[in-house]
């Protein structure tokens, strides 16, 4: 028995492929993981809404056969909040990048986490602004080169998962495209959460970040992920010298907090109870 690609059924009818992404860009791998996670959870695609901002990753919604909203730079989470609050039955995924979510959209990111709006935020972190030619982002590691950091950046990067947890997210996890099987599980977990859930997907940009920092092609960058990431559980058992300089992956936070739209329904009930 010979079978068709299992993800094809989730692709947008009438849309031309392949995607706009460069050869070897990790974003397509993350897209595949999202498609499989939704398939496995059996969420009807009519209930799925994919909302994005601006940047390479934010081009994803047009390719997937969901309701989709490709918005303005940094604002995806604010748009998504409106979608979810208006119709809490919809499953809302936000596709965003490191520049989109953490620089221009940083304020919306922390406040949606604080409100605990039921959004599954997939942050495709490639440590650079890809769409516009390789400028540095809030997650470009200090010293790394970008088109606006020709001598290396002078800024410290920050950790999106820690930021989300501090702001009130109920779920935060980091995966890689090398570890796409785990990544897919994290996305599944995040989609099932009722509340603000973040999955940070480390997704290499060979065209800009890789070239500017001489990290090689897509294959080398994926293999780098294999060698330089450690799962949080494994890391906990290792001495500090073995984990120094490594990127920790895994689920960092998983809590139960009454989600925003449910709290707001309580407001509606209260207001209607008081109505004369």
């Amino acid at each position: 028995m010979i079978t068709m690609h299992p993800s094809f059924e989730m692709l947008r009818p009438g849309k031309k492929f392949p995607t706009v992404w460069c050869p070897g860009c990790g974003h397509g791998i993350v897209q595949g993981a999202i498609i499989r996670a939704v398939q496995k959870l059996g969420i009807p695609r009519d209930q799925m809404v994919m909302v994005s901002g601006i940047g390479c990753s934010s081009r994803m919604p047009v390719y997937v056969d969901f309701n989709s909203l490709h918005t303005a730079h940094g604002r995806a989470i604010a748009f998504a909040t409106g979608v979810k609050l208006h119709n809490p039955k919809l499953h809302v995924i936000v596709i965003t990048g490191d520049g989109d979510a953490l620089a221009i959209g940083g304020n919306h990111f922390i406040h949606a986490a604080r409100r605990n709006v039921e959004l599954t935020v997939i942050l495709l972190n490639n440590n650079i602004y890809g769409m516009t030619g390789g400028q540095y982002s809030p997650t470009t590691p200090i010293g790394k080169r970008a088109s606006t950091a020709p001598y290396g950046t002078a800024e410290r990067d920050f950790d999106p998962c820690a930021l989300a947890v501090a702001a009130g997210a109920v779920f935060a996890a980091r995966g890689t495209v090398f570890g796409v099987v785990e990544l897919e599980k994290m996305i599944q977990q995040a989609l099932a959460k009722r509340g603000f859930a973040l999955v940070e997907a480390l997704s290499p940009c060979p065209t800009l970040y890789g070239r500017l920092n001489r990290e090689g092609n897509a294959v080398k960058m994926i293999q780098w992920q294999k060698e330089n990431t450690i799962n949080a559980k494994a890391a906990a058992k290792l001495p500090p010298e073995k984990t120094a300089g490594k990127i920790i992956t895994g689920v960092f936070h998983d809590a139960e907090v009454t989600p925003y739209t449910e709290v707001y329904q309580g407001i509606i009930d209260k207001a209607q109870g008081q109505k004369q």
Partner: protein
């Protein structure tokens, strides 16, 4: 170079190949392939090799263990395993 086609067109093309007797464990839909070589590099059994046209070819079909590493890591949905494991 990759050629732009819709998923409906891709499906039709692949179905035609299947009907014509395609029997390899891995399928490469070349119009969508961007020649990034990830599938070739991550296959634990070296089933795939880059061909002269810079697209992967199924060089050692008998070695395929249906682990789907190629399919899961192809950013462009251009490579997939055609047979179930076991």
């Amino acid at each position: 170079m990759a050629k732009n086609t819709t998923v409906e067109a891709a499906r039709a093309e692949i179905e035609r190949d299947f009907q014509a007797g395609y029997d390899l464990p891995v399928y490469v839909y070349k119009p969508w392939c961007k020649s990034c070589e990830i599938c070739v590099a991550l296959c634990p059994k070296r089933v795939l090799e880059m061909g002269e046209d810079r697209k992967p070819v199924v060089a050692r079909p008998a070695d395929c263990i249906q682990c789907r590493m190629c399919e899961l890591h192809c950013p462009d949905l251009a490579v997939f395993v055609t047979k179930e494991k076991g």
